[in-house]
Symmetry: C2
Subunit: 452 residues, 2 copies
């Protein structure tokens, strides 16, 4: 009896150790490949330099779809196809301009960028500025103080947040809801402090809730310009002049770009990033990096002859930035097709060194993910805690409440220097950090596929 028990324990332990060793060896081969043979960096260069910024409705977005499909087809996956969606088409038009004038008649040009979806100013709009620290103050001031003015919302990032996404989240409502709050009391326009980490001269755009009767022009100032305006307002009255030429066009047809490797089962594991970007910079970190991570995860697994248990599906989502019609369309399409989805992963926090993955799921699912920590800690993947999966894969949760979602979580200290700004260019993505992201995503897809 004793010897049977011993044999059993030995076999289980040995089997477990053997599996762990096999995993270790395979993960090492993923990283070795990504760090020595991957076209990741060159592919990102093409996406950033030969195509560039690619907001939905632009010619560049169409080029990016073509590029993505061609690239995926070159890797000989089981399928590559496009998934039709309808997307908004908004254009910035001529470069924005703005300047401020104080009571002494002194003038200073400020760095300004229209928020995504904003109406234009139809010539130069001018008004007195009323500054507030957050959009709650707009409500407090009410129509008496707001009407006919230009509202300036100036909440800065909380620099004490180690997780910079929390600092972003804590003031993102000034971008999302600033126009709506100011319009309610008759403001002429709204300008916000950019949602940015550093004090610099680069304004950051982004989406907003523009569902309102009286759409007013909405723009962001660079953090340095916001600081200047704030200082001037302490001295006395300030008028702002603003010209923006942006407008909406008819909705357009666009596409998610999808590639798959078939598995033993039809259950699906989705992983992706978004192919569209804002219309400034090159969408290098946001989200060229996530697109490259996702393509590379599928390519590397195929290259290493991995035979998946499930259908591995790489999705390059369109329209994450201004509507998420790619993510919503994808989730509905999966549900309509009665597909079974067990896991989804997203990379949309830049091409920096990965430190772990945020987990969306039950306590048991978190524990399951954390059980792989010993296998990945040598690759600096330390952090697996509850968090946020991503905008693109988010809508899957509605259709698949038990789905496990993972969001790649890299070092985030530099992300909000680049996010939605002209600084988000190829040169600011480090080759090795990008490659480590590719390897980490391939690794997590592999571990989820093998063990779910």
């Amino acid at each position: 009896m004793k010897s049977i028990a011993f044999t059993l324990v030995f076999s289980v332990l040995f089997g477990f150790t053997y599996a762990q060793n096999q995993d270790s060896i395979f993960i090492k081969s993923i990283y070795n490949h990504a760090l020595t043979e991957s076209p990741a960096h060159e592919n990102l260069r093409t996406l950033c330099k030969d195509i560039g910024a690619r907001i939905t409705g632009s010619a560049e977005a169409e080029m990016a779809i073509y590029w993505g499909k061609q690239l995926l087809e070159s890797y000989d996956f089981d399928t590559v196809y496009l998934q039709e969606i309808t997307v908004p088409h908004w254009e910035r038009g001529t470069q924005e301009a703005a300047w401020i004038i104080n009571e002494n008649g002194e003038l200073k040009k400020v760095d300004v960028i229209a928020l995504g979806g904003s109406v234009g100013t139809h010539g130069v709009l001018e008004g007195e500025v009323i500054g507030v620290e957050g959009i709650d103050d707009v409500e407090k001031l009410g129509e008496a103080k707001i009407k006919g003015k230009i509202v300036f919302v100036n909440k800065p990032f909380d620099q004490t947040q180690i997780n910079t996404f929390k600092a972003y989240g804590a003031c993102s409502n000034q971008r999302w809801s600033g126009a709506k709050a100011a319009s309610k009391y008759g403001a002429k326009a709204v300008v916000i402090r950019s949602l940015a980490q550093s004090n610099d001269d680069h304004p950051h755009t982004g989406s907003m809730d523009y569902k309102m009767e009286n759409k007013i022009p909405a723009a962001a100032l660079s953090t340095n310009s916001a600081n200047t305006l704030f200082d001037w307002l302490k001295q006395g009255k300030v008028r702002l002049k603003l010209e923006m030429d942006c407008r909406f066009y008819e909705d357009e047809t666009s596409y998610n770009v999808i590639a798959e490797i078939f598995g033993k089962e039809d259950k699906v594991i989705t992983f992706g990033g978004h192919l569209d970007s804002w219309d400034v910079g090159e969408g290098a970190h946001d989200d060229g990096a996530g697109v490259i991570h996702s393509i590379e995860a599928l390519r590397i697994l195929k290259q290493l002859n991995y035979q998946p248990n499930h259908k591995l599906r790489c999705v390059l989502f369109m329209n994450e930035e201004n509507g998420n019609f790619g993510g919503k369309g994808y989730a509905k399409w999966c549900s309509d097709n009665k597909e079974e989805h067990i896991c989804a992963l997203e990379s949309d926090r830049g091409g920096f060194q990965p430190l772990g993955y945020d987990v969306v799921g039950s306590a048991a699912q978190l524990k399951f993910v954390q059980s792989f920590k010993p296998l990945v800690k040598d690759y600096r993947l330390y952090n697996f805690e509850f968090g946020y999966g991503g905008v693109d894969i988010g809508p899957l949760k509605k259709h698949y409440p038990n789905i496990l979602q993972l969001g790649l979580n890299p070092t985030s200290q530099r992300y909000f220097d680049f996010h939605h700004a002209e600084t988000d260019v190829f040169e600011n993505v480090n080759k090795r950090e990008l490659e480590l992201g590719c390897a980490s995503l391939a690794t997590m897809v592999y571990l989820m596929d093998k063990n779910l």
Copy 2:
């Protein structure tokens, strides 16, 4: 009995929890201060932009000592003083130049930099190049193949090493011992592939073992130039022309710069970085960042009214790069003065986001350090394993064999793009990452002081 036992357990647990909470609160205050009120980034700007590269013997090294002492004095510590040492004085002279010529007479200029301490070429030196993959091959080729030639050692970084310091370590002997190995068999000169991560146009200098009879000129090529030379050698014979104007001068007097806060006991905790740098770039990551981390660690603890148990000593070491006379002199001085040293910490791996600390000590000391992991994981300090403390604090181990040593271990993926090259400038250090380094060092000094 039961109730006594319960009370005892409760008290111990409560006491423990209370202490942990106090630590948590204090560490949070360190980070909050570092991320919102620290002059770290502006101080680094001054060191890099107003002083710049500061190799021992240079006017800039003298300026850096003056700057460091003045800055430390402005913080009103218990003592600030200089510690005299003798340092070498080597100068690069006129910018180096080198080019290669193939059998067809085609010429290509290559990016070159003299290795630290090298002799000059006294005009243009010319010779046929013999390429080797590592310095072991020099030994195999011997005098017959080497004599009269210029030896080119071309071992690249192993890109599969996640810890890039391991990749550096694995080929650092081509810089350290290349000249000696080549000179032994009568080579005219040696050129090495730069110890660098990326393929780019920036050659990287560094120290070498130059204790030999027949000192030959030694230089490093940029990785791109090394790749070109390697490709040309595959096609046929290649001659290299090299001009370097460098030379040694008389040794000079220099100084470590030291500041202290006294504690309840005289036992010493040392922490520092090195004030000197190579003579290219601005010594921003190597080791301006470490200098700033160390100054800030002491300043922040004083600012927060921390009353130390031990003598907290911040040391800005001179001459880490080419002789380590600062580190050796410091250790001897401590020993000669019969000081008792319990712990030493060093920051000399750049101003990137810290991920943990390497530990040099016993298994029990490692376990002791690891016991603080729960307190610091929210600040992304995950990794506390046996490793390397640092060059400056290294010599203390000889005099204090039981000393616990800790080396700040930041993300290392980008470090060897900058190390010892013209790219190591202020602009490549991120403000928040620098501040996180300051906070992490203040935290570790605090935890060691409180618990050792």
